[in-house]
Amino acid sequence: MIEGLLMGLAAAVTPFNLMMVVFGCIIGTLIGMLPGLGPMSIIAIMIPVAIGLGDPTAALILLSGVYYGAIFGGSTSSILLNAPGVAGTVASSFDGYPMARKGQAGKALTIAAIASFAGGTIGAILLMIFAPALSTVALLFHSAEYFALMVVGLSAIAAFAGTGQVAKALMMTLLGLMMGTVGEGALSNMPRFTFGYMELQSGFSFITLAMAMFALPEALFLVMNPARAAQGDAGKITGLRISRSEAKSIAPVIGRQSLQGFFIGVLPGAGATIASFLGYAVERNIAKGAEQEEFGKGSIKGLAAPETANNAACTGSFVPLLTLGIPGSGTTAILLGALIALNVTPGPRLMIDEPAVFWAVIISMYIGNLVLLILNLPLIPYIAKILAIPRNYLIPFILFFTMMGSYIGQNNSTELLILVGFGVVATILRFADYPLAPLLIGFILGTMLEDNFARAMQLYSGFDFLLERPMTLALLVLAALLVLLPSYRARRARKRAEGVADGD
């Protein structure tokens, strides 16, 4: 591990890569602060830049910097404006915004920065310990297990989508998988579902899809409902210091939530949002007496908990990405797409084939957290000024950047028409409350899923691998349970609500 760390240090601490960390963190913070633009949109917008760098290490460092920056920036707008830029920071506004109203905005931002730093750093240490162990196990996997594992991942993402949403999320996953089959398959190089269009020969571009699914609907929602971009006066921010006793009281919260957040982040489909809400709920439940009363009215513990948990979960979500090559969230799915575009395939072989990439990412996590802390604490009052950009300027620029992102990748203006078309479809899907992240994850995993499925089919000349490999079967049963259990429970709850006796 020490050897790996040194290798990572050597790769990450080059002037260029350091610059990328700083640049990524700043861009992420600036854009993440804008309400409505989450890490997924920002990373999608940044991908062409990252791919343009050509070096996978630098690209991944840049993108993970953007990721942390976005989460941090999201908490800034949560605290100052009660307008979370990112779903993962909604819980931060519960106590952060009351603090800001009480004139403690500076203190709230400091606590958020320190909690994020601690969560991210502890998460990175845990990642360093668990990722190599997990990838050793993953090396024992065959294509049949990989296929089954991906099915489990996809079902878990659908299963965590929420009650009454499982079937919808599953539908979106399937739509994503179907879209992934358009173009030439790896199996036979036969064009499929292209309807004779040359443009579809290489399939849909994942950047275009990512932009159309996340950035474009968000921008359109901002146009349609100006209340979404609650704009306010960021005001003067003073009093960044926290006292010794306050530091003492949030220290155990940070410790607990780093661990909890990290492990929630590792689970596919859970991610930063669930980690932050759960962290908030747990801390409120274990707080005593007066402290519990304080929650929701500007409690420093209530702010530290979700802030720590969401950053630790962001780091945790890198574990399945780097060791299994399976993204657990929309954001890591976009990162996976970017890595594949750079000719790096994350998975258990990553640590053997490209150890420098792996360790450089971990080192850059430490550096990124440090940069965020150093850079943002003194700059917070100035950074907050970006919230004052009028939307008449902001929205055309967001739209322009989404289009640039998909145009640069392909240098083809048909791509822009596809972007607009998918963007409209995605907006309609959002109206009907369909989750879009499963679609993108399905799209990205689709090719890999089919490749592994095909390999297993060829090795066992048919569907026999389902029965001959017990682990595959177990994983597939697990996947089925994940999908069926929530719908079964929802059904029972509904029956009970209707007053109909349960059949079982």
């Binding site: 539908m171 300027y393 289009m403 607009v420 095909a454």
Partner: protein, 163 residues
């Protein structure tokens, strides 16, 4: 019928078309040697189309869960109040994006980008053109410089007949 059911219905229709292509038309061009494989290019799509139809039917026929609160949340889009939103602006911006896509090649990057940002601002209600136009010009110029010179991706700056 609620919007999500219509979407489920459309999805089922899509699966039927997709499944038809996978089951009946795709294998025609498969060379005989590949037919001896246990897996064909159409195998995976076939499975997907069947699963898709099943899931689509589940969504279509699942009764809506009774949600307790009908209070509109702040900043959340409610489809039933669609007419209250700035729908015209959103559609105008989408049309502008299509125009941008079509104009990018013939007009060149700088012209079409400045046009897009200025017209986008105007659609959203910005009237201070003396600020909007310089901002758009500076932004378009610097992005062109970044993409072309720093990233090394070719973008034709001027209209086709000038270059």
């Amino acid at each position: 019928m609620a919007l999500d059911r219509w979407i489920a219905l459309a999805f089922i229709a899509l699966c039927c078309v997709y499944g038809y292509a996978a089951f009946f038309t795709m294998d025609d061009s498969l060379p005989p040697i590949l037919r001896r494989n246990p897996i064909w290019p159409s195998t995976f799509p076939k499975i997907l189309s069947v699963l898709g139809i099943i899931v689509g039917l589940v969504v279509l026929f699942t009764p809506k869960p009774a949600t307790g609160d009908d209070t509109p949340k702040d900043g959340v889009i409610d489809p039933s109040r669609l007419s209250d939103y700035n729908l015209i602006q959103a559609i105008a911006l989408l049309v502008l994006m299509v125009v941008y896509a079509l104009a990018l090649r013939p007009l060149g990057f700088l012209g079409s980008t400045i046009g897009f940002i200025v017209l986008g601002g105007v659609i959203l209600g910005e009237r201070k053109l003396h600020i909007l136009i310089p901002v758009a010009a500076i932004a378009a110029g610097s992005i062109w410089y970044l993409v072309q010179e720093v990233l090394g991706i070719f973008l034709r700056p001027w209209p086709g007949f000038l270059a």
